[in-house]
């Protein structure tokens, strides 16, 4: 595949993931759309290109790991895992149902391919650091990717981990901030501003790659760059909450609200044709 074909393929993957996310949350009538849609390109690039994973061997000790520290983005993770064949795509429609292996937030004991239970904000990054250091201690070369929410950066624990990761030279830990500018109660800039974000990470001695998180070229390049550099690298991905569905974009109301039937139809129309 040429690099242009790769980018086209990943863009298409991201579009399909978005469709599955909307479908899942519509059917469940519960779940977090906005923060899943904003991360579609990032998750598509990780699961269909960057990460070394084997759906036939989800517990491979040498696999790359992914922790959605912003665990409410579970739908986009589930969509990617299903698309990679970790479990049947039909399972997606059981999201949040009693007995389903697809919990509202990721549960490593229930869902094949989920590397860590997450959902209480601020915690997944720390577990990622432990995993990264264990890999170094084991002499393994896997990478640990953590998807952090911008609202999640309000949590003090994130900065404990940011401080410790540099101290321990956890260069195989790659946090990606899904900087969609909106948290549950409103705009991040009003609820609890996190700017200047680049300067914050730099003050903690991180190397910052700042990208447009919806530009697949930039996402793919940043992931490769982060892996190549022998230092702690954070990717700040500027994104749009609810990306891909016009009436959901940039609106905090769509953080955790399911669409009704009419909204669902409009959303699926905007996201384009599905694969059957």
């Amino acid at each position: 595949m040429s690099s242009q074909e790769l980018i086209q393929d990943l863009k298409e993957r991201a579009r399909q993931l978005r469709r599955d996310v909307v479908e899942m949350v519509y059917r469940a009538q519960s779940g977090h759309l906005g923060g899943s849609l904003s991360a579609a390109e990032i998750v598509a690039a990780l699961y269909f290109h960057q990460m070394r994973i084997d759906p036939q061997n989800p517990q491979d000790p040498n696999r790359d790991r992914f922790i959605p520290s912003k665990g409410h983005a579970a739908p986009i993770l589930y969509a990617a895992l299903a698309a990679r064949g970790f479990f049947p795509r039909e399972d997606l429609w059981t999201l949040r149902q009693v007995g389903s292996h697809l919990q509202g937030h990721p549960d490593m004991r229930k869902t094949p391919g989920v590397d860590m239970t997450s959902g209480s904000l601020g915690q997944g990054f720390a577990a990622g650091l432990g995993m990264a250091l264990a890999g170094k201690l084991n002499g393994q070369d896997y990478q640990v990717y953590c998807l952090l929410g911008d609202g999640e950066l309000n949590e003090g624990e994130i900065w404990e981990t940011a401080m410790a990761a540099v101290h321990f030279k956890a260069h195989n830990l790659i946090p990606i901030v899904d900087f969609n500018k909106v948290q549950l109660d409103g705009p991040v800039s009003e609820i609890m501003p996190i700017e200047p974000l680049r300067a914050k990470w730099e003050a903690f001695n991180w190397h910052v790659l700042e990208i447009d998180g919806h530009d697949m070229n930039q996402v793919v390049e940043a992931l490769a760059e982060a892996r190549r550099l022998d230092r702690c690298v954070v990717i700040i991905a500027h994104t749009v909450k609810g990306k891909g569905v016009s009436f959901m974009e940039n609106r905090h109301q769509w953080h955790g609200q399911p669409p009704n039937e009419e909204q669902y139809r409009r959303a699926m129309e905007e996201l384009g044709g599905g694969q059957e």
Binding site: D107, A132, L133, E160, A164
Partner: protein
């Protein structure tokens, strides 16, 4: 037997001994390793000791990460911080995913005597006991501490262990075999039962001596495993004696006393009297003994509670 052993040193030594036998153990510390005695582990295995600074939440998360890749991760802090500051990390990132993380709650109970209420833990057993998947240990002396540490490392899952900041009177011989989840009958008896945990076991034993002088034959149980609780031994005591007096260096709400009362009442009832800190915070004191006396954690008070239970019965 006889003599005293520092509980913290036994904790640290046991980790070192385990570290020699098992290369897959890491220890995480949050700037208290010289107090928790995790320092002993660092001296022998510096590459397996992670000093995270004063950041208990990150420490527990990191421990979870190590456990996720096949390591046995032990994290120590003061009991009050481990069970309090990092509670939610323990709940979400350790207990829920059932990870192989061991938490050492040091300076437990009132044993951080001088530092006062902020540093004394009177709710850790209650907090940890309420978490699914969690095993909760509270050893009675230095020998048992070593056995308990060894046993907890053999459990495949989360364990919380209470470690006092005291030299505790030694109750066991070196050849004592710790059996997780199994109450030890320290002294047989048919009139009343004194069920104690941690270093309160020796207080209960002294109380039993006093009761013997009153002509009362007290059974003394060492409940070193708060969870899973040895229900059989508790129910046998409830059946075979007039009632149970529980003794713990902990709030009377939620700890050993509550656990025993839950089991006894579910089986049809019977008197349970709880001796412990009576739902107040601790305070500073010059000596540990003074503090125990202030909260009624003495052989004399246990004896009095046992006597009143027998009068009611």
């Amino acid at each position: 037997m006889a003599g005293k052993l520092e509980m913290r040193e036994c904790y640290g030594q046991a980790l070192v001994e385990a570290g020699r036998e098992n290369e897959r153990i890491v220890l995480l510390e949050a700037d208290l390793r010289k107090s928790t005695m995790g320092e002993l582990f660092r001296q022998e295995f510096p590459e397996r000791l992670f000093e995270v600074g004063i950041a208990e939440q990150n420490m527990i998360g990191m421990a979870a990460g190590f456990a996720l890749t096949g390591w046995i991760a032990v994290a120590s802090s003061f009991a009050v911080f481990a069970s309090g500051r990092a509670f939610e990390q323990i709940r979400q990132s350790v207990a829920l995913p059932r990870l192989n993380v061991k938490i050492g709650g040091s300076s437990a109970g009132l044993t951080d005597t001088g530092d006062g209420a902020t540093h004394q833990s009177i709710a850790d057993l209650a907090i940890m006991r309420a978490l699914p998947n969690m095993t909760v240990l509270s050893p009675a002396d230095g020998i048992e501490m070593k056995g308990a540490v060894k046993a907890m490392l053999e459990v495949d899952g989360p364990v919380y262990i209470r470690v006092g900041r005291i030299a505790a009177p030694t109750l066991y011989d070196e050849d004592y075999k710790f059996e997780l989840g199994k109450i030890v009958v320290m002294r047989p008896g048919k009139d009343v039962t004194l069920a104690a945990t941690g270093t309160m076991v020796h207080v209960a034993l002294e109380a039993a001596e006093l009761l013997a002088k009153d002509g009362i034959d007290a059974r003394v149980l060492n409940v070193h495993t708060i969870k899973p609780l040895d229900e059989e031994a508790i129910l046998a005591a409830a059946r075979e004696t007039a009632g149970i007096v529980t003794v713990e260096e902990h709030n009377i709400i939620g700890g050993l006393g509550s656990a025993v009362a839950e089991v006894v009442s579910a089986a049809g009832g019977g008197p349970v009297v709880r001796v412990g800190v009576e739902d107040v915070f601790g305070q500073s004191a010059n000596s540990y003994e003074e503090l125990l006396a202030a909260y009624g954690l003495t052989p004399a008070n246990v004896r009095a509670k046992a006597q009143s239970l027998l009068q009611r019965a």
